[in-house]
Symmetry: C2
Subunit: 668 residues, 2 copies
């Protein structure tokens, strides 16, 4: 299967039924682009490789007019977002129009995708423009080679505090380009130890080399930055953003950084969060911190991406008024408008932390005058560690389509992070994913988890794609073009997030996971902790009152969302326990009581996993053997996990409520 010691993921370029596509890709002509431009060179090399492997055909590249084949042409008339392209076929001639080289690269990958999925290029007439201007991956890789919340082996960038840049790195850049990623943060947001020195002489050469490699695929390299760098790198004994010495130190430092690494896109900063230093340490605002850095990097065209994951992580569980869900909004809303142009606030999709079900973070739809980027997590920290299958694209779709009511129309999250809040499209907006990769042979632990890696990029580029379309593309390119495989794997992937939800924590309450590890059930694991993550279950009911009678969180939303969430009768049922403390005996829309709903969904979840496994077993001869073995092994663990969740959750609530299962199934 693999031509390399690692898999080629969706760029496997298996032999395909040509569907008459071969004529469109034998002769290629460039108009207005330089064949020697690194991105164009890579695009053509990719085209040659894909066409050779899939269709068994060489391509020939010329300049000048062409009767039949592919014309790659510079579009100068209608300036569009960087990376946009048009693809049109007429009388055997396929034209790929783009304003810049990155558009060509994306267009070529699109042509290859059409071939790989056995669709026809004939009659093509498509115009693609990225939905989110910034489409980023955030690695949480540490320089010792470990990965925070990594479930796919060790880092492929770092080992023993050294960089490793090789063919694997190049392949990774190809994968990212193929799905439209244009920015990558290579190191963990918790910047410690060696990573603090990424902005020093010790690593400049390597950072420059890697940023050069990325640039050849239209990707900007970003670094996570240690806000306490002045202190830790021998500068002033302070990191106060308003201190003149500190500012001078940063100026000098950034001049050095951008001289040595001119292609650097900027920095991601986690400040004042979970023990990380930040402006609060010096009595300054988040805006003080972000703007100081932003002003200094502005001359270099760089960005400061500032994470909003700021909350009190030493909360007292006895305190029913403090609400971690409120923190992001409360900490950032009052400075709306204060952030400079090249600052982007990076906001997690939900108010808590990447649970399988959360409401959309109200800061998205709260901020009116601030550049925003949404952060999602495809590393399955809380959704099964890439052991359990959990296709996340349906969830991301829900979030993107969420109506915030920030204005009359075009008010969805997709609109906001697609730059649509301002008169002219705001290009300092976007979406980022905490990535799920590592150095394992399959890149993502579970082979099926690559559907999230692929899907995130595809969705960010093209919000209008459905979760099903994306999954189908991925299956066809990765596993097989056979319809039976496509249908069956779709039947596994598409409901998998809801299956995972059913056997884990119910109705939006979240958590109930093994502390620190975040895999496996522990209903009370975070109940009496300092992390602000409670379910408040007692013998009568469960849930957190976030209404006007509780923490008031519901009113961080615009109307009518606020009232909808605030009222137990209009609150969407899947989020019921996030917003309300509900008696076990409350009758839900299904006619079942809450407690019976808990029992039923937990039994159902396990049955669904069993059904998934049976379905997968029928594919043994139809998908690559290594992939089959990998997924089969993980499914075994998923089933154990699902049963454990089922039994712990059901036992916990039965023991607490004393209400038996109507169907008399075994509860311990």
């Amino acid at each position: 299967m693999s031509k390399t010691p690692w898999t080629q993921l969706w760029l496997d370029y298996k032999k395909v039924n040509s569907k008459g596509n071969e004529g469109y890709v034998s002769n290629v002509s460039l108009e207005g682009f330089e064949a020697e431009h690194p991105i164009i060179k890579n695009a053509l090399a990719e085209l040659a490789l894909g066409v050779k492997e899939m269709l068994g055909q060489e391509i020939s590249v010329k300049t000048g007019p062409l009767e039949q084949g592919l014309v790659i042409k510079k579009e100068t008339t209608s300036p569009d977002l960087e990376g946009a392209y048009r693809l049109a076929e007429k009388s055997g001639k396929l034209t790929l129009l783009a304003g810049e080289e990155s558009g060509v690269l994306y267009g070529v990958f699109h042509v290859l995708r059409i071939i790989a999925t056995e669709k026809s290029l004939q009659g093509a007439d498509e115009k693609k423009s990225p939905s989110q201007p910034l489409r980023m991956m955030n690695h949480w890789d540490n320089m010792d080679g470990s990965i925070e919340r990594g479930y796919s082996g060790r880092s492929f960038y770092f080992r023993n505090n050294e960089f490793f840049i090789d063919e694997r790195t190049r392949d990774f850049a190809r994968f990212m380009a193929s799905i439209g990623i244009n920015g990558i943060v290579i190191n963990n947001v918790n910047v410690k130890d060696a990573a603090t020195y990424l902005i020093t002489e010790r690593y400049f050469d390597k950072v420059a080399e890697l940023s050069g490699l990325f640039a050849e695929y239209g990707i900007k390299l970003y670094l996570s930055l240690n806000f306490a760098s002045p202190l830790e790198l021998g500068g002033p004994k302070s990191a106060d953003p308003l201190n003149e010495e500190v500012i001078a130190w940063w100026k000098e430092k950034m001049a050095e950084v951008f001289t040595r690494v001119p292609k650097l896109g900027g920095f991601l900063v986690k400040a004042d969060s979970e023990g990380r230093p930040g402006p609060f340490t010096y009595g300054r605002t988040q805006a003080d911190g972000a703007n100081m850095l932003a002003d200094i990097v502005k001359p270099y065209g760089a960005l400061i991406i500032w994470r909003c994951f700021v909350y009190n992580c030493t909360q007292d569980w006895r305190d029913y008024k403090t609400d971690r869900a409120r923190a992001q909004y409360d900490n950032f809303i009052q400075m709306d408008g204060d952030y400079h142009d090249n600052v982007i606030l990076q906001i997690k999709n939900g108010p808590m932390d990447f649970q399988v079900r959360e409401p959309v973070a109200p800061l998205l739809g709260g901020l009116k005058k601030t550049n925003q980027m949404m952060e999602v997590q495809i590393a399955q920290e809380y959704t099964g560690h890439q052991i359990d299958v959990c296709y996340l694209i349906p969830m991301f779709k829900e979030i993107l389509e969420f109506k915030t009511y920030i204005r009359k129309e075009n008010d969805t999250v997709a609109d906001i992070i697609g730059g649509g809040l301002t008169e002219h499209r705001n290009l300092n907006t976007g979406i980022a994913a905490v990535i799920n990769t590592g150095n394992d042979i399959y890149w993502t632990g579970n082979v099926l988890a690559a559907a999230n890696l692929y899907g995130f990029g595809r969705l960010a580029f093209e919000n209008s794609l459905s979760a099903k379309e994306i999954a189908e593309e991925w299956i066809r390119q990765t596993l097989s073009n056979e319809d039976e495989v496509v249908e069956k794997v779709l039947s596994i992937l598409l409901p998998s997030r809801e299956v995972y939800e059913r056997y884990t924590s119910p109705l939006g309450i979240g958590w109930m996971v093994t502390p620190h590890v975040h895999y496996g059930c522990s209903v009370d694991g975070y109940e009496y902790s300092r992390w602000g993550t409670y379910h408040r279950a007692d013998h009568l009911g469960i849930g957190v009152d976030r209404t006007d009678k509780g923490t008031g969180y519901a009113f961080q939303y615009n109307e009518p969302n606020a009232s909808m969430y605030n009222d137990i009768d209009t609150c969407p049922e899947e989020l019921l326990l996030f917003f309300h403390h509900v008696p076990y005996t409350r009758v839900l829309s299904t006619g079942k009581t809450l407690i019976q709903h808990i029992y039923d969904t937990h039994f159902q979840g396990v049955e669904e996993v069993e059904a998934m496994i049976s379905c997968w077993q029928t594919l043994e001869e139809k998908v690559p053997a290594e992939y089959f073995a990998n997924v089969t092994e993980r499914f075994g663990r998923q089933l154990t996990n699902a049963k454990d969740w089922r039994d712990q959750v059901n036992s916990y609530f039965y023991r607490k409520s004393g209400i038996p299962d109507e169907k008399g199934r075994i509860i311990y």
Copy 2:
């Protein structure tokens, strides 16, 4: 305070009121002992040091008769247990009689203790003989310097896989000798990595040096042994105790070991437990494993101490029939009589694992024909990590005095492990403590925790001492001879175990601790785990049914204990939840319901900690300043811990039962 970079613990030899003792210790004469014998030399040096420091006086040592002073004389007429001594004063002459040098050493430390505690030597007439023949300390030190369940810093023996033997080691040997310890296991029972090589050339010199140092204080050095040594040290590819090649390998290995370390006392073995290899791996019995090794080390006069902590640590919490409490008895009782003479079974004091309250392990009182040693833990793994004060000697007294009914009389645990089950006293019996020391300046983390270190040795030597007498000795030698200090610290120490019990898990149920860490509350922390440690609480009640209707554990005891535990009406209330599943509404002997008992004890426990702290605060000017600061700091953490336990336990049971506190106090 300290004359060394570490404290001198109870051998601090502060200036004292001489109480007329000076005349007894100025002239010393030896009769029948060699002044140059290393133990005698150390005894005289200690006497000289103590007398100098406490009384400001030099001693002079002669041979031949003496009118006034101390005569140290070899007793040949009445052979007694090694280490026994007599002390008698008559007309200004104090006579110390002993059969061997170790008796002299213990007698000298006793004289110094009398002086240090400001008692009078006049009229002394005491005969002391060790209650337990073997009085051992078990270090759980790893060779990398870490200590499993260590709460007092790092190892003082090992660092980076090397030995460190220096003045601190010698001081430690003095401390141990002063309380009558005659055996020390220096390395963790979980023998891994470098520790496997303790029986190889790599460490022979150092082990020999340390065993030589210990020997000068009457202490034998023991090693924990890796049962899989043949496999790991390049011998046969098996550790099967009946395999001829394996036996031959061990023979050769032991010949080498005892040639290089002739003073070695023997080995402690943890086999087939918590992932450690053992005879079960090869389908052999525990006796097969222990006897094989014992036969091989017998020519060298060495012992094999075999731990009985063998249980299924991958239990299913759903299984209500398997009972970890049964395991030790079930695994060892049937081979009673099969163990060879130089094998000793080391049995934990309770059937679980060093909880603050457990019944006595029924194997003690079950085995009739097997050498037994009891293991207790002064490392406060489950009793407060040497942050919380928990004076354990009252608990050890209860255990020693427990009537097992193994025979009509002299049937207590103390009798069994004091060698009293056989016609002639069985010297291969004893008591061992998992030690609470480390390389911190105070040796035991909390200064007050040294009362357990001191107390364990004193109690093992002399079971008839009361917990109060021991504590008073320790206070006077360590803190002050002032009556106010003695009384106040006694009032802190003596009830401290029950205070700890009150604010932690109720009525013998145990656990409810943070998993792995074992400090801090997590009521359900081990409830759905693989460790066999459950409380089975539901909305109606709590407790594990270990009666004839449950796991049947109660019937591992002899009658009438079995029936007493089996019947909820006769079961001692402090163990109620260990043996019975009890409704929250059951009325206890106090007239309170179980749930009210839980609430009340938890509020009371915190109040008692507050009272302890107030009491301690009054001693600021009366105890050494460093000690005061150390204890004060720990008390602060204990109070936080106690409140957290109180609130979590009360909230948990209130939420689960729905029964309010009668007194209307705050429960969250």
